[in-house]
C-alpha cells in the first residue's frame, strides 16, 4: 500500500495554487474541510489536523497517512476603463495544490508525531504578452511548499496542544514586458526567476468540553520567503546603449506569507451530524510592498519597489457533514473572504476582491482502513474596478472565478 502512495505522490505535479483566498493565500489544505467551506479548526477530523490544528492531532483515534490533491482552475477577466472596450482573460494553467499528512504514535500514548507537506500559498497567473497591462505583468508563478514536522500532546480527553515547525521552500517567476520595441517590432521584456525559502511555526489548542462541542484555536506564524540571487534575464533591442541601461543579472526579494489566527467551533448535535464554524484572521498587513533589489542598475535604479499595503482581513467559514451510512458521508459549506487589497492598490498579479466560496464533498469508506474523499469548491470573486493609482498596477475592472475539484485518500493504521 505504501508504495502506491509514493507513486501517487510522484505523479502529482508539485505546484501550488492560484491565489484563491485573499491575496495569494491558497486555502486548500484538506479534502474533508474543503467540502465544508474549508472549516475544521475546531474538529479532529483526520491527519489534516497537522495543518488545521496541531492540538487536535493527538485526539485522533488512529494513526494514518493522507494524500490529497486539488485541480485548481481559475480564470480572470479584465476590461479596460470606460469608454475603452478592450478585454483580456488569463490563460492560467491548471495548478495542483496538494497535501500529504502522516501521524505516528503508540495507540495508548497521549503523544503523537506528525508530518505535513502542503501548499498554503501560491499563485499562477498568465495574462500573456499582448494585453494592455503587459508592462505590469505577463505571467507570475509563485510556488510554496510547507514542510511541517509536528508534535501533539493530549493533556486530557478534553484538551490537546500541538506545535509544528515549518520549513518552507518555493520559487517565484515573474515576467513582464518592457515598453521598448526593436526594429522588427519585438517588444522587450524581463524575467525574474528565483528559489525561495523561509521558516515558521504552527501552534494549536484543541478543547472538547463535551461530547457535542469542540473548540480550536491556532496560530500559524508569518513565513518570510526570501529569494537570494535569483536570475534576472532581459530580452532587449540589441543596441549597446539600451543594454547599458539594463545591467542587472541577479535579484533579491522577500515576500511575506502572512500569519493566520483561526478560531474554530465544532458542534455535533447527533452522532451523524457535525457542524463547523471557523473565523480566520489573516495578518496581511505584513505585505507592505513588493521590492526587488538588483545587483546592478536598471535604468539607473538598483531596486524597484511598488507599494501593496495590504490590510488584515477576516474570513468566515461554515460547513456541515452528515454521515449517511457507515460508508458514505456528505458535506457542504461556504465561506466569505474579505480582500486584503485596498482601493487604489489592485494589481494584475492578484486582482483580488471580496470572494464567496461554496463547496460540497463526500467520503467513501472503502474499508476500516481506507477511505476516499472528494470535494468541489467554487469561488466567485466580486467584480472590482480600481484605478490602481497607488500600486502602479493596471486600471480597469477585474472579475475572477475558480472551480476546484479535489480528491484525497486516507490510510489508517
Amino acid at each position: 500500500m505504501k508504495s502506491k502512495f509514493l507513486a501517487l505522490l510522484g505523479s502529482a505535479v508539485l505546484s501550488a495554487g492560484v491565489a484563491q483566498a485573499g491575496g495569494f493565500q491558497a486555502n486548500l489544505q484538506g479534502q474533508k474541510q474543503l467540502g465544508m467551506g474549508h472549516a475544521g479548526t475546531g474538529l479532529a477530523l483526520d491527519q489534516s489536523s497537522i495543518f488545521f490544528n496541531p492540538g487536535a492531532l493527538a485526539h485522533l483515534r488512529q494513526n494514518g497517512i493522507q494524500l490529497g490533491v486539488s485541480a485548481l482552475n481559475a480564470k480572470i477577466a479584465y476590461r479596460e476603463p470606460s469608454p475603452g472596450i478592450s478585454e483580456s482573460a488569463t490563460d492560467n494553467p491548471i495548478s495542483t495544490p496538494f497535501q500529504v499528512y502522516a501521524s505516528f504514535g503508540k495507540e495508548d500514548s497521549p503523544l503523537r508525531f506528525g508530518i505535513g507537506v502542503y501548499t498554503p500559498f501560491g499563485s499562477s497567473v498568465n495574462w500573456g504578452t499582448r494585453w494592455q497591462g503587459r508592462y505590469g505583468l505577463n505571467e507570475l508563478t509563485l510556488k510554496t511548499i510547507f514542510i511541517q514536522p509536528t508534535i501533539s500532546y493530549r493533556i486530557t480527553d478534553k484538551l490537546g496542544l500541538g506545535a509544528g515547525f515549518i520549513y518552507s521552500t518555493g520559487s517565484v517567476n515573474l515576467q513582464r514586458s518592457i515598453p521598448l520595441a526593436d526594429a522588427n517590432y519585438n517588444e522587450a521584456g524581463v524575467e525574474l526567476d528565483g528559489a525561495a525559502s523561509g521558516f515558521g511555526f504552527n501552534l494549536g489548542v484543541f478543547f472538547q468540553p463535551t461530547e457535542k462541542l469542540s473548540l480550536g484555536l491556532t496560530y500559524r506564524s508569518k513565513v518570510e520567503m526570501e529569494v537570494k540571487e535569483g536570475d534576472v534575464t532581459f530580452r532587449l533591442p540589441t543596441s549597446p546603449l539600451v543594454a547599458g541601461q539594463f545591467q542587472a543579472t541577479q535579484f533579491d526579494a522577500s515576500l511575506p506569507m502572512p500569519a493566520n489566527i483561526t478560531l474554530g467551533i465544532g458542534f455535533k448535535p447527533t452522532e451523524a451530524l457535525t457542524f463547523a464554524v471557523d473565523v480566520q484572521r489573516v495578518q496581511w498587513s505584513a505585505y507592505k510592498s513588493l521590492r526587488f533589489d538588483y545587483n546592478a542598475g536598471i535604468r539607473g535604479e538598483t531596486f524597484s519597489e511598488s507599494p501593496r499595503n495590504y490590510e488584515d482581513v477576516f474570513i468566515y467559514r461554515v460547513g456541515a457533514q452528515y454521515k449517511l451510512s457507515e460508508i458514505f458521508t456528505i458535506r457542504a459549506g461556504a465561506y466569505y473572504d474579505n480582500s486584503p487589497v485596498q482601493e487604489g492598490y489592485l494589481t494584475p498579479e492578484t486582482p483580488d476582491s471580496d470572494s464567496r466560496g461554496v463547496s460540497g464533498g463526500l467520503t467513501l469508506a472503502l474499508s476500516d482502513k481506507v477511505d476516499l474523499d472528494a470535494s468541489f469548491l467554487y469561488i466567485n470573486k466580486k467584480e472590482r474596478t480600481d484605478d490602481a493609482s497607488k500600486s502602479g498596477g493596471v486600471a480597469g475592472t477585474f472579475k475572477s472565478v475558480a472551480y476546484i475539484p479535489g480528491v484525497g485518500i486516507n490510510y489508517k493504521f
Binding site: I85, P179, V394, A395
Partner: protein, 479 residues
C-alpha cells in the same frame, strides 16, 4: 432531517453542473455604445501633416495606417461608422516621401538618424514642384484629406495644388492649380468631420527659426484676420448649417515639442564656463540678438529654444566657420559649383557675415536665425497661436462642433505621466509620444490623440464612442 440533506445534496449536484458550464468570468454589465445624435456614415478628415499621419519627417504607409483619422474611423465603426478611404501609398511604394529611421547611437549616445530611400513614391518622370518632388498620384475615393505642410492661408489658394506635392498627389491633373483645398474638402459633404488646421500658419515660421523665405508666400505668420476669414468659411462649409457634426482642434504651442526642447538644455550644460552668452541672427534680417547663457531654456527656466536641426552646427561654436552657410548654398545649387559660390557670397553679404570670426560668439559670425527661436520670435508665435485658437473655438461654437484643445493637451504632457506602466513625456525618442522629427507624434502618440478626441466627441454629443487600447501602437523603434 434526512430529507433536508438529500435535497441539499441534489441541489449541490445541480449547482455543480451549472458551475461547470458557467465557468468563464463574466462582467455584470455589457458594454453599451451609442452614437448619440451623430451620423458617422461619411466621416471626412481635414487637416495637415498631423491628419495625414506624417511622422519621422515623412509620409509613408505605416504612418497613414496609424493616422488619427483612421483610428477614429475604426472606433466610429463600433457605432455605425462607414468605410473610411485613405490615399494610401501602395505596398510597393510604402516608404512614400521617404522618412528617417533610428539607425543606432553614437559613442556618446547621440541618436543616428538614417534616411529611408527605398520603395519611395517620389516621381522622377516630372519636374519637381516648388514644395518638393512630386509623388505618385492617388486616384481613388478620399476621406482623409490630410495634406502635409498646408496652412489655413494656403488652403484658400487655388494655385496651391501646383505648389505642394502632397496636395497635387490627391488632385486630378485638370484640378491642379485650379481648385483650392477648401473647395475640394467642402465638396465632399461629410456627415461627420474633423478639422485640425492652422499649425502651419505658425509652425513653418517657427521651425525655420523665425526666418521667412522670400520665395515662399506661406512661410510667414498668417495675419489673424485672414486666418479668421478662411477658417470660418471652411468650418461653415463643412458644417453646412449644422447638417454635419464634427470636431475641431486647436493649435498646440509649438514650443512644447521636442524639436525645440531637446537641444537647448544639453547645449547650455556644455557651454564652457567662460562663455556667458551667444550671439544669433534674429528673424529674417541681419539684426543680431545676444542670448545670455541662462536665457537658454531648460525646463521652465530661460526662453531661447534651439531647433533639433541645430545639433549639426552647435559643436562648431567658437570656431571660425561658415559651414552652415555653405550647406545652405549647396542645398540650393547641389550640382552647380559656380552658382553655389555665388549664393554663398550673397548670403554672407546679405547677413553681413565674417566667417573667419568665432562662430556664435562674435557679432561678425552669429548663429543663424533658423537654428534659434529667440524671445522676440516666440512672442510673435505665441500671439498668433492665441488669436488662431480663439478663432477656432468661435468657429466651433458657431457650428455646434466639439473641440479638442490640443494647446492645453500638449502643454499638459510637458509633465511626464504614467499610463499602463508606460512613462510618457515630450522627451525625444524616449518619451514615447513624438516621432523622430521631434514635431509629429508616433503611432502611439496619434492613438492617444484619437482617444482624446473621442472623449471630447462623447462629451459634446453625449455619445459613447469607444476609445482604443493605445499600447497596441508602437512608439519609436529602437535598434
Amino acid at each position: 432531517m434526512k430529507n433536508i440533506f438529500y435535497r441539499l445534496g441534489a441541489a449541490a449536484l445541480l449547482s455543480t453542473a451549472f458551475l461547470f458550464s458557467g465557468c468563464e468570468p463574466e462582467f455584470e454589465e455589457d458594454i453599451t455604445l451609442s452614437k448619440g445624435p451623430l451620423d458617422f456614415s461619411k466621416y471626412v478628415a481635414v487637416g495637415n501633416s498631423l491628419t495625414a499621419g506624417y511622422q519621422d519627417n515623412g509620409l509613408y504607409l505605416e504612418g497613414q495606417i496609424f493616422s488619427y483619422p483612421n483610428i477614429l474611423a475604426n472606433q466610429f465603426s463600433f457605432v455605425g461608422g462607414g468605410a473610411f478611404a485613405q490615399p494610401l501609398f501602395t505596398n510597393e511604394q510604402r516608404n512614400g516621401s521617404g522618412y528617417l529611421r533610428l539607425g543606432g547611437f553614437s559613442s556618446t549616445g547621440a541618436p543616428i538618424l538614417a534616411p529611408v530611400t527605398t520603395n519611395l513614391a517620389v516621381r522622377t518622370d516630372v519636374p519637381a514642384l516648388p514644395g518638393g518632388r512630386r509623388l505618385t498620384k492617388f486616384t481613388g475615393a478620399i476621406q482623409n484629406w490630410g495634406v502635409p505642410g498646408i496652412s489655413v492661408l494656403a488652403s484658400a489658394v487655388p494655385q496651391y495644388g501646383g505648389v505642394n506635392p502632397y496636395f497635387e498627389r490627391l488632385l486630378a491633373d485638370a484640378e491642379v492649380g485650379q481648385v483650392s483645398y477648401v473647395q475640394k474638402v467642402v465638396s465632399t459633404q461629410p456627415t461627420f468631420f474633423s478639422l485640425w488646421l492652422g499649425n502651419n500658419d505658425v509652425l513653418g515660421y517657427a521651425t525655420a527659426g523665425g526666418v521667412v523665405d522670400p520665395a515662399n508666400p506661406f512661410g510667414g505668420i498668417t495675419p489673424a484676420a485672414t486666418f479668421n476669414a478662411i477658417y470660418s468659411q471652411l468650418a461653415a462649409g463643412l458644417s453646412r448649417n449644422k447638417a454635419a457634426k464634427g470636431i475641431v482642434a486647436t493649435i498646440p504651442d509649438v514650443r512644447s515639442v521636442p524639436f525645440f526642447t531637446t537641444v537647448g538644455p544639453t547645449f547650455r550644460a556644455g557651454l564652457p564656463a567662460a562663455v556667458t552668452a551667444v550671439v544669433a541672427l534674429t528673424k529674417s534680417g541681419a539684426n543680431r540678438t545676444v542670448i545670455a547663457k541662462n536665457d537658454i531654456r531648460v525646463g521652465s527656466s530661460g526662453t531661447a529654444l534651439f531647433t533639433l536641426t541645430s545639433t549639426a552646427y552647435l559643436g562648431l561654436l567658437g570656431q571660425p566657420t561658415g559651414r552652415y552657410w555653405r550647406d545652405q548654398a549647396k542645398a540650393k545649387f547641389p550640382a552647380d559649383a559656380a552658382a553655389m559660390d555665388q549664393e554663398l557670397k550673397r548670403l554672407l553679404q546679405n547677413y553681413q557675415l565674417d566667417t573667419t570670426k568665432m562662430f556664435g560668439l562674435s557679432g561678425e559670425n552669429p548663429l543663424p536665425s533658423a537654428l534659434v527661436l529667440d524671445a522676440d520670435e516666440q512672442a510673435e508665435i505665441q500671439a498668433a497661436t492665441t488669436e488662431y485658437n480663439t478663432i477656432i473655438r468661435n468657429a466651433a461654437t458657431a457650428n455646434d462642433l466639439a473641440v479638442f484643445d490640443a494647446f492645453t493637451f500638449f502643454n499638459s504632457i510637458q509633465t511626464p505621466y504614467n499610463m499602463n506602466g508606460v512613462t510618457y513625456s515630450p522627451a525625444f525618442i524616449t518619451g514615447n509620444l513624438f516621432s523622430l522629427d521631434g514635431v509629429h507624434p508616433t503611432p502611439r502618440g496619434y492613438a492617444i490623440i484619437a482617444n482624446e478626441m473621442i472623449k471630447e466627441i462623447n462629451r459634446k454629443y453625449n455619445s459613447t464612442v469607444p476609445t482604443i487600447d493605445v499600447t497596441q501602437f508602437r512608439a519609436v523603434l529602437i535598434p
